[in-house]
Amino acid sequence: MKTVKKYILLFSLAMFLVPLQSCEKFLEVKPQASLSTPETLEDLRALLDEESFINRHYPGLIEMGTDDYFLDYSVLISRTPFDQAVYLWESEPLYLSTNVNLQWRNPYQGILYSNIVLESLDRIKEGTYIARDNLKGEALFVRGYALYYLAQLYCAPYDVRGDNGGLGIPLRLSSDFNVKTSRATVEETYNHIINDLTLAISLLPDHVDYKTRANKTAAYAALARIYLAMEEYELANNMANEALKRYAVLIDLNDLNIDISYPFTAMHDETLYLAYSTSGSLLLSPTRANISDELFQSYDDNDLRKKAYFYDKGNGYIGFKGNYAGNNSSYFAGLATDELFLIRAECRARFGEVNEAMDDLNHLLKMRWRTGTFTPFQADNADAALKFILKERRKELVFRGVRWSDIRRLNKDDRFATTLVREVNDGNIIKTYTLPPNDLRFIYLIPQEIILKTGIEQNPRL
């Protein structure tokens, strides 16, 4: 009996020690199967394929302030205070947290994913150089492109002739949330965007299987758009050329069933990179936004876009249906070949190459007009060509995320500067709201919450 007790005592002591010895292994099990830290290139691939944060997060502000649309009074007053304020170009719209998320955080979310991919690539050693380069290029592209959108909203346009030392946007280049947010200058902002995208070109593949991923052509196209916004026409022209060398397919609207509700499908042949916005703003949904009469009337009846882009709402208003991202979104924020032709045409016109410029434009318009009705347009001089091209640019790129930048850029040129006007008719009186060229309101306020949390400087107001 004594020995039995001894054994039991020993056994119980052993039982105490066992968990100590083996618990290290025991506790290494992952708490949830679907959770992991990024350890493989496959993980990074999956992060960059998270459409809702990479391709779908574009802010609505870029289309909410343009003159392409207007709202009926009853629609306007049923909208949120923020949407109303933005629509009426109020100086200081109040951002609620949803607005902060949609207009500010979402693009930075894409930037965060890019930063995580870039940082993980430094750590993960597996994979071929090509696979690693492609992922790196894609992450750089996503970051640069998102920063570009933010720069169109929250800082002054790049001034090719002047000083760009003013307030730019915060450049978040690390996933470390402890890094304090601060604003770069406009110069630094654009330098960084161009660096990201230029480096991306060298790393990206020529072809991708899905247009939700960027290839070399997409990166060239992005740079073409960005240089154009910076008024670096030479560079814009080069980039457009490079892109078009690789891919120049245009859709002939004559081949498209333009009578249906949504004539364009997502990732159609003109698409170079698919980006869009699903919840950027409820103002922009076709049921609410009415197309400006001036814009609608500028299309010739033989111009198929008049039918492909627009529909009669039945209440005297025109709605938009020509969304390049298919029908799932409020606007198309990606890149397509038609824009490249317009960029090159504009640059060529600015260089005085009138014929080449008009060739590019006519090449595009031929695909837009009803077969047999199109006669190539001529321009007498570079100035006329430019004016014509810019007009066509607006007509082609409706709800494509470029109109706001174009207004900001062209306002600096007296020939094209315009004062935007909104009329609000409550049934009794008509109130008029205006946004004159180069107004401070062309730079949106940074959400007040961000100013409070980070202490960064707010954009100036009168």
Partner: protein, 1065 residues
């Protein structure tokens, strides 16, 4: 003559028995005689009292009968006698409830409460059975000092012990221990009839043994155990509870006539024009009134016709239909049978329970079957084996298409207009607008589509849901006495819970018809169904297992008479894998159980372009999780001369939550305690009136494990396609940013207490005061959105709290008529002392006033803020506020004003709460009632929001009292209705101090009336108790005058009545 003889014989019989005398003696457990015990003979109101030697005698009037002995501090005892009986021996067992010698179970050991230093509350069986519920925890509401039930969140009841020690909702629940181990799985699997008692562990000395999961206190549920040396015993409990139908008129809403007037006003202002005339008119819902006005405006109806029709609607409120056809009284029936018996070597207990509940929503119900068997075997004097097997099966049914009030319509609106008719006079369901314009769905598809109408009443029966759960437990406890006072224990507990959830939406349901129609392609005469016609099934299965094992070595010895030592050391390991999977299926045929294939991959156009191209919804996938803990613990108590007690407890835990290094996973927690039983001192013996006095104090730490500390970002993979995603690629999202410095929460508590009892235990009680400091609190800390991420889990704060728990029991009258009172009062205030987290916007604090934790430096948790209101503008009825001391109507500025400029009222969580329980006994009758109260908190009442009224049909009864003409501002704070509405103006008023009310209230929680009697069956007696209880009886007093029950955000818990019977033989 014969009759006379018979009468004579009977008479002589009774005389002979009346002359007979039965003697007896009453002793206590220690064998000593008990004096002054009241003995009730045959419950006939004849009493005798035992003498100094415990002796008593009586002459029985009947052939056989039963005597009942009752004595202060002892359980009542009954003994039967028959014609042969001449002597009765009775042993009284001390009453655990009334005597201090209560044993508390910490989950690790049974200790006499007298010898504890920590703060324990024991809820005995009598208290647990006074209220009839399906879930055992609900029975604790209002009877345990320091335990508060927070019913303010609509989805779940939150329990807190001594307030809140954390800043995140996920870490707020107390640890629940059943059968010595933390309980995993659904608490509804426990049959309350199997619960013997509940122990609450409140301070650090009590909880630190549970380590890193005990920061919010511990609730130990002690299951009934077999008792040895007890003959075969059967007991039966049957009860039935009827709950009142929910009262939808509790909600303050606009009446239909006012709503219609508002609609007519809006129509005249062309509010509906753009929707009525647009091409998307089919995507908007319109009310019948707007429809009629529109018909009139386009000349299809005369004004008189329209007005006539409209006026018919004014008297309708669809709550009437819902109250009649959607809701009903709940009926819960509970049956339980208990078999127990044992000898000195073995003992067993088997209990079988059945619950049959009918919910208050039509179509809902629960059936639960429980069986539990436990055995104790003592092969030798030193070896005890205890086994338990338990199995619970429950089937929960509900209508998956049930529409709660208010009905949500979609189609541009939120709530259904109030004057809807849901059911016609012949009890047939009527259609209401839902998602689409009702005229559109009338005509669309020329009959080639499925009916597209939405009938809320039919939806109840068109979809069904079931959850079948099986819960299995097995426990094995071995105890071997190695040497005298030294025990080795090994425990193993296994739990397995599987649950199967299935929702079947038949092809008659709107959900199914809508989805099929959306995907239907009509080309001329041909109709192509992309989604096959038939039901849609969603199913999911989940499984949880839990293995827990413990070895423990304990010593319990007294040395040299005066030095008593209790020590135990142990280690514990737990492994809890869980998994779930789900799928859905289309074209389901409920009779043949066949389904049809669908294409989940490609996006299809939606009928008439109602929405964008979409994929067929797919729900399902797999998930698997593992939770592991390893712990080491030790506990010791030393008692000197039964007077001084010192205790020490320590524990370390480690878990497999993402951590950096193993060292950081270990979290040491400890506590110390001292107590002094003053009445054991010789100098106190002279104070005859003082029975018991003990002072005690403890200090220690417990913790809350939570959060994931990782140096790398954590990503979450997903393979489920979203219905609108453009590609079909595997994707992963970032679920947490790197966060290597995260620590577990630490809760430090100091407790001072005094236990007392005097005047021969007529008055007894406990007063405890505590302070606590919860540091390194983990919370989802809002990040600067520029980081691209909304929040990060981090140690962002510290809370200091203090409070007291006061309990006093008194026996006001203790004779044939007995009156006992228990008074409970607790105070708890938790103030945030440090908060590095990022602040939300001012509007957020004002909008969620008091309803969420929202920590802010130097404020209590659940802070209540409001905008400073400056009354209504006398000219316009506009609400006014203050901006830099000036009157202001710049609402967008007012809403974003600095939080400092708002009123801070206090907290939304009651800082004072308690109950007042009274029990009256007279012979076999017993009456109990419990009054509960909560004081010192605030709440924000709802009010009218004109923007929501116009655009979303969300109404509120405050509309009636709105400002309408100058002078009204003297009677009302409700602003005038303006057109167009201004959401900022509405919000400013809604979140201003005009809508903050005091939450104080007193409630009659329950009443219980019981009658006990002992019928005789031959030679057997069978004590029977019949009882009636009323629960949630009503509010006795509220500080607010609006008739709002501040304990609830939505409907208050309905009143319920139970009738029950328990018997044993």
């Amino acid at each position: 003559m014969r009759y006379i003889i018979l009468v004579c014989i009977l008479f002589s019989f009774s005389i002979s028995y009346s002359q007979r005398i039965i003697n007896g003696k009453i002793i206590g457990e220690d064998g000593k005689a008990l004096e002054g015990v009241t003995i009730d003979i045959n419950q006939e109101n004849r009493f005798v009292v035992s003498d100094t030697l415990g002796r008593f005698q009586f002459n029985p009037t009947h052939y056989y009968g039963v005597i009942t002995a009752s004595h202060v501090g002892y359980q009542r005892a009954m003994l039967e006698y028959n014609s042969e009986t001449s002597y009765l021996n009775l042993t009284l067992i001390p009453d655990r409830h009334q005597l201090e010698e209560v044993e508390v179970n910490t989950g690790y050991q049974q200790i006499p409460k007298e010898r504890a230093t920590g703060s324990f509350v024991q809820i005995d069986n009598e208290q647990l059975t006074r209220r009839i519920t399906t879930n055992v925890l609900e029975r604790l509401d209002g009877i345990a000092p320091g335990l508060q039930f927070d019913n303010r969140s609509e989805s779940s009841v939150k329990l807190n012990i001594r307030g809140i020690n954390t800043m995140s909702d996920a870490l707020m629940q107390p640890l629940i221990v059943v059968d010595n181990f933390p309980y995993e799985g659904d608490l509804n699997a426990i049959n309350p009839n199997d619960v013997e008692s509940v122990t609450l562990l409140k301070d650090a000395a009590a909880t630190s043994i549970w380590g890193a999961r005990a920061g919010n206190g511990v609730i130990v549920i002690n299951m009934k155990k077999p008792l040895d040396d007890q003959g075969f015993k059967v007991s039966v409990t049957v009860n039935s509870t009827i709950g009142e139908k929910p009262d939808l008129y509790y909600y303050q809403r606009m009446n239909s006539s006012d709503f219609i007037d508002t609609e007519m006003m809006l129509f005249n202002k062309d509010f509906y024009n753009s929707n009525l005339n647009g091409t998307n008119v089919h995507k908007y819902v319109f009310s019948p009134v707007v429809d009629l006005l529109h018909q009139h405006s386009i000349g299809k109806l005369t004004e008189a016709e329209a007005i006539n029709e409209i006026d018919r609607y004014r008297a309708i409120d669809y709550r009437d239909d819902m109250q009649k056809y959607f809701y009903r009284s709940s009926i819960n029936q509970q049956y339980n049978i208990n078999l127990a018996g044992g000898s000195n070597k073995t003992a067993y207990r088997v209990s079988i329970g059945f619950d049959d509940n009918r919910g208050d929503k039509v179509g809902s119900g629960l059936k639960r079957y429980t069986i539990r068997s436990s055995n104790i075997i003592k092969p030798t004097d030193r070896f005890t084996i205890q086994t338990t097997l338990g199995y619970t099966q429950s089937e929960n049914i509900y209508s998956a298409g049930f529409q709660d009030y208010p009905i949500v319509t979609g189609g541009g609106k939120t709530h259904l207009y109030p004057y809807a008719k849901l059911v016609n006079n012949s009890a047939e369901a009527l259609a209401t607008p839902f998602t689409y314009n009702i005229h559109y769905v009338d005509t669309i598809g020329n009959g080639r589509l499925l009916d597209w109408k939405f009938k809320p009443y039919d939806e109840i029966t068109n979809s069904s849901g079931t959850t079948n759960a099986h819960h299995f437990t097995a426990n094995l406890n071995l105890n071997y006495e190695l040497l005298k006072g030294i025990n080795f224990e090994a425990l193993y507990a296994f739990q397995k819970e599987t649950s199967k959830n299935q929702t079947i939406r038949s092809e008659r349901s709107f959900y199914t018809r809508n989805l099929i129609n959306q995907f239907t392609q009509i080309d001329g005469e041909s109709v192509k169904y992309i989604i096959p016609v038939g039901g849609i099934v969603n199913a999911s299965n989940s499984e949880m297992q839990s293995h827990k094992a413990r070895v423990q070595l304990s010593l319990d010895r007294t040395f040299y008479d005066k030095h008593a030592l209790t020590v135990f050391l142990g280690s514990e390991i737990s492994h809890r894998p869980s998994s779930s999977e789900g799928f859905n299926a289309y074209g389901y045929n409920e009779h043949l159980l066949t389904t049809q294939h669908v294409d989940y991959v490609n996006a299809y156009p939606i009928y008439d372009g109602l929405t964008s191209n979409s994929r067929i919804p797919f729900a399902g996938g797999f998930d698997s999780r593992v939770q592991r803990y390893v712990s080491l613990y030790g506990n010791g108590a030393y008692t000197y001369d039964k007077r001084f007690i010192a205790s020490l407890s320590a524990r370390r835990d480690a878990s497999n939550l993402f951590g950096v290094k193993i060292n950081d996973k270990w979290n040491p927690l400890w506590s110390v305690g001292l107590s002094w039983i003053v009445t054991e001192e010789s100098f106190m013996k002279s104070l005859k009136w003082l029975d018991f006095l003990k002072v005690r104090s403890t200090y220690g730490h417990s913790g809350n494990a939570g959060g994931v500390a990782s140096t790398l970002p954590i990503i979450s993979h997903s393979a489920t396609l979203s219905s609108t995603a453009m590609t079909n690629l595997p994707r992963a999202l970032v679920s947490a940013l790197p966060n290597p410095y995260l620590k577990w929460e630490d809760v430090r508590m100091v407790n001072y207490a005094i236990d007392f009892s005097f005047l021969n235990r007529k008055i007894s009680g406990t007063f405890e005061y505590y302070t606590k400091k919860s540091a390194d609190l983990i919370s989802a800390d809002a990040l600067d959105p520029t980081t691209g991420f909304n929040n990060i889990t981090s140690n962002i704060g510290m809370i200091r709290g203090h409070g007291f728990d006061f309990q006093i029991n008194s026996k006001n009258i203790d004779r044939v008529f007995k009156w006992n009172t228990t008074f409970l009062l607790s105070k708890n205030k938790d103030k945030v002392k440090k908060f590095h987290g990022t602040m939300s916007s001012t509007l957020t604090y004002a909008a969620y006033s008091g309803s969420s934790l929202r920590p802010i430096q130097d404020k209590l948790l659940y802070p209540v803020f409001s905008y400073r209101s400056a009354g209504l503008d006398t000219e316009s009825g506009d609400p006014q506020g203050y901006m830099q001391g000036e009157l202001s109507k710049d609402y967008s500025k007012l809403l974003t004003d600095s939080l400092q400029n708002l009123n801070y009222h206090g907290t939304g969580l009651p800082p004072y709460y308690g109950s007042f329980q009274n029990t009256f006994r007279w012979k076999q009758l017993e009456l109990m009632f419990n009054i509960t109260y909560k004081f010192g908190h605030f709440f924000q009442k709802e009010t009218i929001n004109y923007h929501a009224l116009f655009n979303s049909w969300i109404t509120h009864g405050d509309y009636v009292t709105r400002w309408q003409q100058p002078g009204d501002e003297k009677q009302t704070t409700v602003p005038s209705m303006v057109y167009p509405s201004n959401a900022n103006r509405d919000n400013f008023y809604a979140y201003s101090d005009a809508n903050i009310e005091r939450g104080d209230l007193i409630r009659l929680k329950d009443i219980r009336f019981a009658y006990s009697f002992v019928p005789r069956w031959g030679h057997k007696v069978m004590p029977v108790s019949v009882y009636f209880t009323a629960n949630n009886v009503g509010r006795l007093w509220t500080a607010n005058k609006s008739g709002i029950d501040s304990d609830y955000r939505a409907l208050p818990a309905p009143r319920s009545y139970s009738l029950g019977l328990s018997a044993s033989f």
